[in-house]
Amino acid sequence: MLETTDLAYRYPGGESLTFPNLRCAPGATHLLLGKSGSGKTTLLQLLAGLRSPSHGKVVVNGTELGKLSTAALDQFRGQNIGMVFQTAHFVRSVNVEENLVLAQRLAGKTTDRRRIRELLDVLGLGEKLRSLPARLSVGQQQRAAIARAVINQPALMLADEPTSALDDDNASQVLGLLQQQAAAVNATLIIVTHDNRLTGIIDQRTHL
């Protein structure tokens, strides 16, 4: 569940952007489309609580982000918001399983290795449990990133150009997994993209 009202952001340079209101139901997928410089990444950062809006509010799962303290916001983000990026990033020094353990611990949750194992099995990474992230292929890395985004059963999943670095096969696989996993935990899935392959599949869109 995601709701934004009258969101505006002022860049340090003074330039201001206003965003259309969003209202997304749990389990739904929503595309944010826009050209370069249209502020879609800025909107994503506002939704994730990585930047503070100059005006308006973001409500995730009934909590208004602007009302949280910095530390509480960090914690809230870890527990309720999963993020997937164009390029998958990991803590390079620990294996896939430990990366997911870190995601659980940093969100203030207890370690649940069974959930990690099951999730990786579903995503076809059961064999890669003990591999360092750098040993995975690009497609595998993106799937592991999805695993990390959903491990804490978030209310909101934000994906920033998740498919634009992938070929058609991997792109459709990753999109499928994103939707499937978001649905499995009943999370709202927001995909920021300019990837035309996705516009044909998902009909809920907002153009910026």
Partner: protein, 447 residues
Amino acid sequence: MNLLALAWKNLAYKPLTALLSVLLFALSIGLISLLLNLREQADEQFDNNLADIDLVVGAKGSPLELTLNSMYHVGYATGNVSLGQVKAFFNPQHPIVADAIPLSLGDNYGGYRIVGTIPKILDWYGAQVATGAAWKEDFSVTIGAEVASKLHLDVGSTFRSTHGILDEGEDNIEHDDEFKVVGVLAPSGTVLDQLILTTNQTYWHTHEDHGPEPTTPAQDTSALADHDHDHEHDHDHEHNHDHDHDHAGHDHSQIGSLLEEGAEKEITSVLVRYKNASSFQALSFPRNINENTELLAANPAYEISEVRRQFDSGQRILGILVLAITFVSALSIFIALFSSLRERRYELALLRVMGASRPKLFGLIILEGLTVAVLGYVLGLLLSHGILYLVAANIEDDFRYQLDPLRFLAAEGWLLLGALGIGFVAAVLPAIQAARTDIGEVLTSDV
């Protein structure tokens, strides 16, 4: 997976970089610990061996040499003095001198010095006889604990002494007379641990010339360490062989028996305790002796403070070196962490996305610095005590200076705090940098 485990994994991910930082840090900690230990244990040796001795009296020469030779049993003797010259020090009625002990030096056995003296020296140094008894007769010896264990001697063992104060291996000139061990001392932590004690008279038997007339002081016993003299000396001994030793029977453990001997007989030096060290007469006593007699009087406390001053200035130079190494090692931690931040900016941003607060990222980088510091500290202590262990044997032979490599100083506990401090300081800038990571800028790009 907690922060410490993650910090450890991060270091282990770049093992060579971490190793370099740890080694540099270990080098710095090791040197500091080594200096502290050498200093502490040297001070202790100096103090233990002062034995409340106020004055050392011997033949003219260097006062430092006299002190080192007579009290610490290193270096060479300044020469000998005749009993007649020093008789006054043994007078119980002496206004300044409370007590005095005669020393005869010059021979060794197995590298351990044989000291002719009276058993009163045990009381002065606070040493106890562990087995057997103190020496009484000529050629009976009581040996230090260290001598007993290193040379495998025990009560009842016999040996022949070697001329000269050092063990010279194949070139040794052996005296013919047999010494017999009558006692072994308990370890006292003083130089007595490393000495072989016998009577003063024993020296006269082993070194006495044919004929009654005394040799000039410059020759014979006074030239104990003089190599050129050795062959002539050896020669003497053959002549000497028919000389009648009184090996048994006479008790030579009291000063009285020594003073009954001829005034021309020689000893090496006299250790003196004052009645009142702060009295006016006592203060001017050494100068009086030095100016008015053929004797040299040295104040050991003063001489040792001179040695310490030398030690200190040497230590200051080393201290600067250590400071430089410490700085470089801190710099290496700083550089390693800082350059790793560049490679890890995505990772740090990711940690924030996963719910880590800024203080947590700060803590993570600090922990990485502290981990290097602690590893370096442990390795450094192993290094310094390993070196102490290796050099202990050498130092003991050369300087009569016992080192305990397994002793850890309280200062080394403080050193851990210092190490943690340096690790923290080296990591604090990178940690602040890490805490400032802007997740939005790093992870999301406006394409």
